[in-house]
Symmetry: C2
């Protein structure tokens, strides 16, 4: 008997068959001959489909994992599914189907069967929510594509094109009560005719038709955007898979109005209405980035249907065209601390007119949507461990707590950790000194520069560094040089550069009434002045005091894990951060970089509707602490000025950061006496 005959015979038998879907475990009886896709729908199984069963999209792929399981009263049949054929052959020829894969819309159930739905065929991916690993991502986007074939209009029934489309969307996709973006309505008729009555629509939140294409369309993209005061980063993401296709970045053009946040706010205070100019330039840059990321990936800008934005409160307000002046002074009132969902065209980014955008909520006047994104990405509210999240920018945003309780604050660190307001300071960019070691005996420093893999005393360093040059010192370099200066005895515990050493080393020089340490001499000379040390002391004391204040509020003395977010967190050597006393004691192995957690949070919010609801809910529960009104903050601040900060781990840490085993010259023996004396 041929297979076609077998299918016929099976169908002729009529009746129903038992089908079990894995991994959901849903099961039930359906009429023999039902397609797997239809059976999945009847039984409420999460099986994807964009084309609605037309064997075009390939989203409904399944595997027969078992057939003809014995069951009382039902004859065991060898035929579980109809033969691979027809539409599947065509699809396989054009697109290719992996071994043993079937199209759910084409394969028909002829006998009892267990059908496995692989993860990529599920609309709502069943992922373990371990979001501290950004690689695990729940994908449940707000925008879905649906292909429908609409009946043509006829003279006998006056039913508008939109209504016939809506009726089909209800019939095929169970979408009811849809509204339609006016922009889509404007091209609806032409598109329906161009597609010969087959169209693909993008539906936002099962509520609104926001885009339409003729025929079958399979691409829905989104943007995750982190608007930093220095850098704007944009990620182009496939909404259906959640995968990032490309990332682009550019300097924030608002820098022309002010280098740091506060100077931009001051600018607006001095030039009322200039917030509109700042909005315009940042949106213009976003528009250019959209074009760039589309060009790099050969994507169509009209396929971008959703965006998620994060940024600190001032960037948040300026992106949206709100004046940031209230954020420039007490009581630092936000315009809103709710998430914002709106048409993207409000931001004028040149996207598809129906595209939507989502701006994550700010937490407080100093704790922004970027911090909310970090919280979403790190999800401390799901953990038992007491977790500290630190995101260092112009201010440090601090979140401390666990699933029971979460506190947030901002510490006024100033921009020293970003390399600003430091004499040789600069941003972490090629040419910046990022690593420093000082010989305990000779006081000679060696360093590494971003963009060059060699240490400054390695052979060939000069040639290697020639292309990037040495232009200054960045945040992590400053942390290290100050810590090393202390460990080498150049700095006292209260942060004074020891002028006596100028007798022994040309590196220590007079600088007015105080002294300075010459880190590098060249086209550009990089020195660490007494003021620089003070700036770092103030910054690290502010950060530590903020963290300590939250620990007091929570009544904890121990922190289980520390996650450092952002560029600073990626570059810094945590040992030095602990030597200097930026962060409280914690197992070194539990202090880790969270990478670009704000960007990850935007990515998560972009592709998962549940994540949006989750962070909106969690943000409301976070207790906001305003350091400026807490007297304990001042106390902690004063205490934390010393170097090192009294740390149980200091001995261990200072060992960890001593000069590496590489032997240094012993020619500075002369200094030893003096230095031992100072080390009393």
């Amino acid at each position: 008997m041929s297979t076609a005959d077998a299918t016929e015979t099976a169908l002729a038998a009529g009746g129903d068959v038992l089908v079990v879907f894995t991994p959901s475990g849903r099961r039930g009886r359906v009429a023999r001959g039902t397609t797997v896709l239809q059976a999945a729908r009847e039984l409420g199984v999460d099986l994807d489909s964009v084309c609605g069963g037309r064997a075009i999209c390939g989203r409904c792929q399944v595997t027969l994992s078992e057939g003809s399981f014995p069951k009382h009263g039902i004859e065991s049949r060898p035929e579980h599914l109809s033969d691979f054929g027809g539409n599947e052959v065509d699809y396989h020829a054009v697109t290719g189907l992996a071994q043993s894969r079937r199209l759910g819309c084409s394969a028909r159930l002829l006998g009892d069967a267990v059908i496995d739905v692989p993860p990529e065929s599920q609309v709502h991916r069943q992922v373990i929510r371990k979001r501290t690993e950004v690689h695990d991502l729940a994908v449940d986007p707000l925008v879905h594509l649906h292909v429908v074939e609409v009946s043509p209009p006829n003279m006998h029934e006056a039913v508008s094109d939109l209504r016939r489309l809506e009726e089909e969307l209800e019939f095929e996709w169970a979408l009811t009560g849809l509204s339609c973006d006016p922009q889509v309505l404007g091209k609806l008729q032409a598109v329906m005719r161009e597609g010969n009555w087959q169209v693909t629509v993008a539906v936002f939140q099962q509520r609104e038709i926001i885009a339409i294409w003729p025929g079958y369309h399979n691409t829905a993209l989104g943007l995750a955007v982190d608007v930093g005061s220095t850098t704007i980063a944009m990620h182009l993401i496939e909404l259906t898979s959640g995968q990032s296709l490309a990332s682009v970045g550019r300097m924030n053009p608002q820098i022309r109005f002010g280098e740091d946040l506060m100077s931009r706010v001051s600018y607006v205070m001095m030039h009322p209405g200039s917030e509109q100019d700042m909005s315009r330039v940042v949106r213009q840059t976003l528009t250019e980035l959209v074009a760039q990321v589309c060009q790099e990936t050969d994507s169509n800008v009209d396929d971008i249907l959703d965006c998620a934005f994060v940024g600190n409160p001032i960037m948040h307000h300026l992106l949206l065209g709100f004046s940031p002046v209230e954020l420039g002074g007490a009581p630092f009132a936000l315009a809103t601390d709710s998430a914002i969902t709106m048409p993207a065209h409000e931001l004028n980014l040149g996207l598809n007119r129906g595209a939507r955008c989502y701006v994550l909520p700010c937490i407080a006047g100093h704790v922004g949507a970027d911090c909310a994104a970090v919280v979403l990405s790190e999800a401390p509210y799901l953990r038992k461990e007491m977790t500290l999240l630190v995101d260092i920018g112009t201010n440090a945003e601090i979140v401390l707590g666990n699933r029971d309780r979460l506190l947030a604050a901002s510490s006024p660190t100033g921009p020293a950790f970003e390399g600003a307001q430091i004499s040789g300071g600069q941003r972490a960019a090629p040419g910046a000194i990022e690593r420093v070691r000082i010989d305990r005996e000779t006081l000679e420093p060696r360093f590494r520069v971003i963009g060059c893999d060699l240490w400054s005393d390695d052979p060939g360093f000069e040639q290697a560094v020639a292309t990037v040059g040495i232009s200054g010192i960045c945040g992590s370099g400053i942390i290290e040089v100050v810590a090393e200066m202390y460990l080498a005895g150049i700095l006292s515990s209260d942060g004074v550069i020891d002028g006596n050493l100028s007798q022994y080393s040309a590196r220590v020089i007079a600088d007015g009434r105080t002294f300075a340490f010459v880190l590098h001499k060249g086209d550009i000379t990089v020195t660490v002045t007494q003021n620089d040390v003070r700036a770092i002391q103030l910054a690290k004391a502010a950060l530590y005091a903020g963290i300590r204040l939250l620990m007091d509020k929570l009544g904890v003395e121990e922190i289980d894990r520390i996650r450092l977010a952002g560029a600073f967190g990626s570059h810094i050597d945590v040992k030095y951060a602990m030597v200097l006393g930026l962060i409280p004691d914690c197992e070194l192995g539990n202090v880790t970089s969270a990478g670009n957690a704000a960007g990850s949070g935007a990515h998560i919010a972009l592709v998962d509707v549940n994540a949006r609801r989750e962070i909106e809910k969690e943000i409301r529960k976070i207790e906001k602490i305003e350091t400026a009104v807490e007297s304990r903050f001042q106390e902690h601040f004063v205490e934390a000025m010393a170097i090192p900060h009294k740390s149980a781990q200091f001995a261990q840490l200072s060992k960890a950061v001593t000069w590496p085993t590489r032997i240094t010259g012993a020619k500075t023996q002369a200094l030893t006496g003096t230095r031992r004396r100072r080390r009393r």
Copy 2:
């Protein structure tokens, strides 16, 4: 005992009092000393207030209609309400309070009382829904103003300005789950501070904050707009009272693309994309009309918060920026037949960015939102009588039925009734001949011209008409001249001009192979040609056939009332319409003008949310008849070409329209013999 003492004494007594509100009849007990406004809220009585009890808005005015009604167990007290004083004295000094009126927010209940809430103090006016009289209007607008005092921000609680505003709106006005238009968010902070934490917000549908003003603001305006193919009419309306403040109108600038609807559609077909130009010019004119109506009424454009638009399907599509090409040919598919609610800025009218707009639904490809507005205004679906609504434009939109069943169709009358495609035809404008009488003996015509009260044979007519001139003949003039030509024997029953009469009267002249009637000789000569008569015959036959088709479908032979909407309906003498057979037989007294019913419908939809839901629901129930596919339509059409159409009322009617009693010269005796002969 002084009155103040009496109040104190009453309050000291504590306990509660019984209060009855009229006309609602709601009653209940409230604590002694409760304000009337608070009592109304507790008991669910509809008592308005914008200022939330601050004695500013004066919306909560009430009258004490009875006090101290005897009741068992409660001592009868002379004091029912606290004395007129404090806030009321201030309000009276500034704004004035009518005799016996009290402010509900200030007057406190000291004893049992019956309180009357006058209609103007009710949010939802209790009106009898007899909307066939446009003067009775239910007022329940979608936008409401609310005054609140928000607490200033403080350092100890990081709560955003929007959230504190929302909390106050919930506390004072029970508004929950509000969203906020991004545009409002942008100015929220400045406005709250400018108003020293007192602001007025406009809330759309208890759902979204769409506008905000510092301090107390009491004006909410709306626009009702009828976008006609010839004329655009705009009415500025106070949303709270429903009253019209002013009306302005202007020619539709799309006329430069085509005189009538079909020529505009043809233009778009010939010039793809030009629908955008047509949208732009109509929106530009709307923008200018907004400025004009605001200037005339000294209104602030930012106070306009809602608009309602009506128009025929092609005007509807062009207003919204949709291409009308599908409406230019079978099967005449609308883009949408749903109502559209959207931000008004989608239409670019220069309104407050938060303003909303509502576009009434179209019914079918030829039956537009203007017809929906007529249906809303006339509400045949509420009536027992079989009602015929006729709105004549380029096509005639016809609605027939009653509360049981309603049918709609469009008849292809062409533009003849509008004076187009008639040799001397023009729109109803100054200088157009609108009334015509022809002497049965002499065949000499007399006429009246729009803009001049005299008949053409009245003394002083020439001087009186000099300022406007005589420029042509409008729709009603054509109807009358054709009917009079028939009655005077110039036209045969099948519509042929009798060339023999050229021997007897210089008014009948040869015109190629046919003949014409010279109505007026002057700078511009107005003649009625055989082609003109044919055009009117075709138009009237189309209209009649459409009506007759609907009567067949409904199975009725009698129509109880006929309402003629629009300019044509206002100008036409219904007797002549019936002589010519435009409309079926009906008691003459029951054939009336519906005035500007489309504009009234827009007005109703603007100020009453329930009316919007009502017309959306009723429109869906209307049965749409496409005349083009009905063979019966052709039959009726052919039958209806004759003049007069066989009418039971013809004899009576022809008497009604004979030459008035004024005696005419007898000098045309010579003609009599011939004419009698023709009248066999």
